[in-house]
Amino acid sequence: MSLKASHLKVGDTHAERVVENLSRTQLVQYAGASGDYNPLHTDEVYTTQVAGYPTVFAHGMLSMGLTAKMITNFVGDGRLTKYGVRFTNQVWPGDSLDATATVAALREEGGKHYVDLTVSTTNQDGKEVISGSATARIDP
């Protein structure tokens, strides 16, 4: 199930399409589950007429959560020890996102094995929306 250090090398990648044609309804779903009801994500009238954006846009945390799915599918369940991102561009309804993890380092610390990953998520135009890193405990 889990990754093995002996089967990995620096530069290896794992990529997944984490959302296809993101719907406004999924933004509502994420607002309800997370408790973040910022109208910028669900209220078209407020967002266009008051805030001055072309339309509602995704919670950064939704993009981070979608990207996490790719990482945990790669490293295994309950293996993440660190995960951090910068939100580099907004994600809009209709976007499709591809998330990629690249092995940056393989380490042994206190008898445990870890993989450090660089993480990048891009939209259908190739624009990066998430740039980050993650660390996971893996098998020898």
Binding site: G32, D36, G60, L62, G65, A68, T81
Partner: protein, 160 residues
């Protein structure tokens, strides 16, 4: 500094997992999760942020009897005042000592961190502020630490 009690529940984990498009049984199916490496359901990596549900003062949730800045009869419920969302999310970092499980009752402390400014071509002056959130379990053990950076922009960030 804010202190919040955050009870972690399987139904909340299920709703959160669905919202991020998860189909992994480790978040959704108690029987399958029990047979796997984690010996039961765990929460997805970004789930700790939904502590917002348990913050009585959380400013991005409409509250009974209080004006809400989103639209209703008019485009904003606080017309005439600057409608602020509290800024955009610039960065988020988690450190996991262990993963959260249904039945955990977390004590969560949110503390302000550093603040700084930057100029940007896309959105004018940017004011950054950091927030550190520590999640401790029912035994007092630190289980997750989160650091988030918010940014307030002078004007909307354009779609280009």
């Amino acid at each position: 500094m804010t202190k919040i009690t955050f009870p972690v529940e399987a139904s909340h984990i299920m709703m959160f997992a669905r919202a991020v498009g998860e189909t992994n049984p480790v978040y959704l199916d108690a029987d399958k999760a029990k047979r796997g490496e984690t010996d039961g359901i765990i929460a997805p990596p970004t789930f700790p942020q939904s502590v917002a549900q348990f913050d009585p003062e959380y400013h991005l949730r409409p509250k009974p009897g209080q004006k809400w800045f989103g639209s209703a009869k008019t485009p904003s419920g606080v017309e005439g005042k600057p409608a602020s969302s509290g800024g955009l999310h610039a960065e988020q970092h988690f450190e996991y000592h262990r993963h959260l499980r249904p039945g955990d009752v977390l004590s969560v402390e949110i503390k302000p961190g550093k603040t700084w400014e930057k100029e940007s071509k896309r959105a004018g002056k940017l004011l950054f502020s950091e927030r550190i959130t520590e999640y401790r379990d029912q035994h007092g053990e630190l289980v997750v630490t989160a650091r988030s950076v918010a940014v307030k922009t002078e004007r909307p960030v354009d779609a280009g």
